[in-house]
C-alpha cells in the first residue's frame, strides 16, 4: 500500500513538472522509458529502448558530455545538468536531467537511472536573453566610449576657450597679442564645430541602423567610391584589385557599405608605405553561411600588440600623420556592429594590413 501511495504522488509530480523517467541496465542489457519520457521523446508505440540506442537521444554535440555523465554514474557519481537532447524524430530540445547509479540486489552498480524534464522553452528564452545581453553590453561599451569622447573633446575645447578669455581679460595685451588671441578663438570654434559634426555622424549611425536594407552590389559600390576619390587615387598611384565573385551582393544599408569601403580604401592610401605604391585587394567570400569582406593593403601596417585595443576607438591616431583624425575606423566599426556584424584586423608592421568584416 505504501508503495502504491508513493507511486501516486510520483506520478502526479511527474505530470505536473513534465518529467520523464528512464533507466539503463548494462548488466541485463535492458532499458526502460516511462510513458511521460516516451511522450517527451516522441517515440512510436512499439519503440523498444535498449542501452545501445540510449545515446541516440542526445544531440550530436552533447554526446561526449552525456557519455561522461554515464561513466561517472557507473563509478557512483550522480549528475544534475542541463543538456541538449534529440527526440525520436531528431528534433533538438533542451532538458534538465538528473541521474543516479542503478544498483542490483548485491549493491553493485549495474546501470544508470534518472529523470529529465523538457525545459526547451525556458532555455531558448535564456539563450535569446543572453544574446540580447551581449548586444546591449556592446552597445553600452560604445555609448561609454561615446560619452568619454564627448566629455574629453568638448572639455579640451572649452578649456582652451576659458584660458583664451582669461588671457584676454588680463592686462598688458599688446595689439599683436590680442590678434593672436582672436586667431585662437577662430581655431577653437573651428575645432569645436568639427568635433560636433563627428559626434553627429556617430549618432546618425546608430539611428539609421533601423532603416531598410536593400540589395547592395559590391561592384557598384566600389565604382561609386572610386569615383568620389578619383583624385586621391590617381595622385597616390594606387592599384585596386577587386574580386566579388564569392559574394556579389548582400542586403545592407547602401550608405554604410559605401562608407565602409571608402574608409578602408582611404586608410590604405593615407597609411601607404613610403617605398611603394599602394596595392589594395578587396574580396568577398562566404564561409559557414556567413558573408565576409576583406580589404588587404601593402601599407605601413599597424603595431597590433601596442594598439589592438585602441585601434577602433575614437580620436586614436597612431602615426604622426597630418590628416589622421582618428574617426574613420570608429565609424566603420559602429556601422558594422549596428547591423550585427563584426570587424577584425590583422597586420604586420612595414608589410600591410588586412581588415575583415563579417556581415
Amino acid at each position: 500500500m505504501n508503495s502504491n501511495f508513493n507511486n501516486f504522488y510520483y506520478k502526479e509530480v511527474a505530470k505536473l513538472t513534465g518529467a520523464g523517467s528512464w533507466s539503463v541496465n548494462f548488466k541485463d542489457k535492458t532499458s526502460m522509458l516511462d510513458p511521460l519520457a516516451r511522450r517527451i521523446l516522441n517515440t512510436p508505440e512499439d519503440f523498444k529502448p535498449t542501452p545501445k540506442n540510449a545515446m541516440g537521444f542526445y544531440a550530436l554535440d552533447e554526446i561526449v558530455r552525456a557519455q561522461n555523465f554515464f561513466n561517472d554514474c557507473m563509478k557512483g557519481i550522480p549528475f544534475n545538468t542541463t543538456i541538449k537532447m534529440l527526440t525520436y524524430d531528431k528534433k533538438e530540445f533542451w532538458v534538465k536531467a538528473a541521474g543516479q547509479p542503478l544498483f542490483d540486489e548485491q549493491n553493485n552498480i549495474v546501470g544508470v537511472r534518472g529523470v529529465f524534464q523538457d525545459v526547451n522553452v525556458e532555455k531558448m528564452k535564456e539563450l535569446s536573453l543572453e544574446k540580447s545581453l551581449e548586444i546591449i553590453a556592446s552597445q553600452n561599451a560604445r555609448l561609454f566610449n561615446f560619452a568619454h569622447i564627448v566629455s574629453h573633446n568638448l572639455r579640451s575645447h572649452s578649456s582652451n576657450l576659458q584660458l583664451t578669455v582669461e588671457l584676454f581679460n588680463s592686462l598688458h595685451n599688446s595689439e599683436e597679442e590680442e590678434k593672436e588671441l582672436k586667431d585662437n578663438l577662430v581655431s577653437i570654434s573651428e575645432s569645436l564645430n568639427k568635433t560636433i559634426s563627428h559626434l553627429n555622424e556617430i549618432v546618425s549611425t546608430q539611428s539609421q541602423a533601423d532603416d531598410d536594407k536593400s540589395d547592395v552590389v559590391f561592384e557598384d559600390v566600389l565604382k561609386t567610391v572610386k569615383k568620389s576619390i578619383q583624385c586621391t587615387l590617381n595622385k597616390s598611384k594606387a592599384t585596386i584589385i577587386s574580386d566579388f565573385s564569392g559574394v556579389p551582393m548582400i542586403p545592407y544599408i547602401p550608405a554604410y557599405m559605401q562608407s565602409i569601403l571608402l574608409n578602408f580604401i582611404s586608410n590604405s592610401i593615407k597609411y601607404k608605405h613610403p617605398d611603394r605604391d599602394p596595392i589594395i585587394e578587396i574580396k568577398t567570400f562566404s564561409e559557414e553561411n556567413k558573408n565576409y569582406l576583406t580589404v588587404k593593403d601593402n601599407g605601413i601596417g599597424i603595431n597590433l600588440q601596442k594598439y589592438k585595443n585602441k585601434l577602433f576607438n575614437m580620436y586614436q591616431t597612431f602615426h604622426r600623420n597630418e590628416d589622421a583624425v582618428g574617426i574613420g575606423l570608429y565609424i566603420t566599426k559602429n556601422q558594422v556592429e549596428a547591423l550585427q556584424g563584426t570587424i577584425t584586423v590583422e597586420s604586420v608592421v612595414d608589410q600591410g594590413s588586412i581588415f575583415k568584416v563579417k556581415f
Binding site: 573633446n153 572639455r155 578649456s159 582652451n160 576659458q162 597612431f318 602615426h319
Partner: protein, 142 residues
C-alpha cells in the same frame, strides 16, 4: 606684485593640442613663470629627450633640465600612460628637483585613480587650469 625673477628655469610640456600649448606659452611668458619652455607634441618625442639625458648631470647641466613637466594623456604615437611606463626607467625620473603633473581634460575616475598609483606623478590636474592655478603650481615647485 608680478615676480621679476621666474620661479623656474626650465619647464616642459608634453601635449599635442597646439592651441593649448600656445596658450600656456603665453601665460608662462606673461607671468614670467619659467625662463624656458620645452615642448613635445607626443610621448615618444619627450621620451627620446629624457632617455638621452646624462645619468649624472653636472651642475651646469642640471640647470638646463626641466623642473616641472606637464603631461597630457591622450596623444597620438605614444600616449601619456605609455610614456610614464617608459619614463620611470629613465635616470631623470629619479631627479628630486623635478615634478611631473598629468594635465588632462579627462574626468574619468579610473584614469585619476591610475595616475595616483604611479610614483613619478605628483598630481592629476584637470583642464581647464586657471592662470592663477598655473602660478601656484610653478611657485610650489621651487
Amino acid at each position: 606684485m608680478m615676480p621679476t625673477v621666474s620661479p623656474i628655469k626650465v619647464a616642459c610640456i608634453i601635449d599635442d593640442d597646439e592651441i593649448y600649448v600656445h596658450l600656456i606659452k603665453k601665460i608662462i611668458k606673461m607671468k614670467k613663470l619659467s625662463e624656458e619652455l620645452l615642448v613635445f607634441s607626443n610621448g615618444q618625442e619627450a621620451l627620446t629627450y629624457f632617455e638621452a639625458l646624462p645619468e649624472k648631470p653636472t651642475v651646469s647641466e642640471q640647470n638646463t633640465l626641466p623642473q616641472i613637466i606637464l603631461l597630457d594623456l591622450n596623444m597620438p604615437v605614444m600616449d601619456g600612460w605609455d610614456f610614464l611606463e617608459k619614463y620611470k626607467n629613465t635616470a631623470f625620473s629619479k631627479n628630486p628637483k623635478s615634478t611631473l603633473y598629468i594635465v588632462s581634460s579627462s574626468i574619468d575616475p579610473y584614469e585619476m585613480e591610475k595616475a595616483k598609483s604611479i610614483d613619478s606623478v605628483t598630481d592629476y590636474l584637470i583642464k581647464p587650469i586657471s592662470i592663477e592655478h598655473f602660478q601656484t603650481i610653478f611657485n610650489k615647485t621651487v
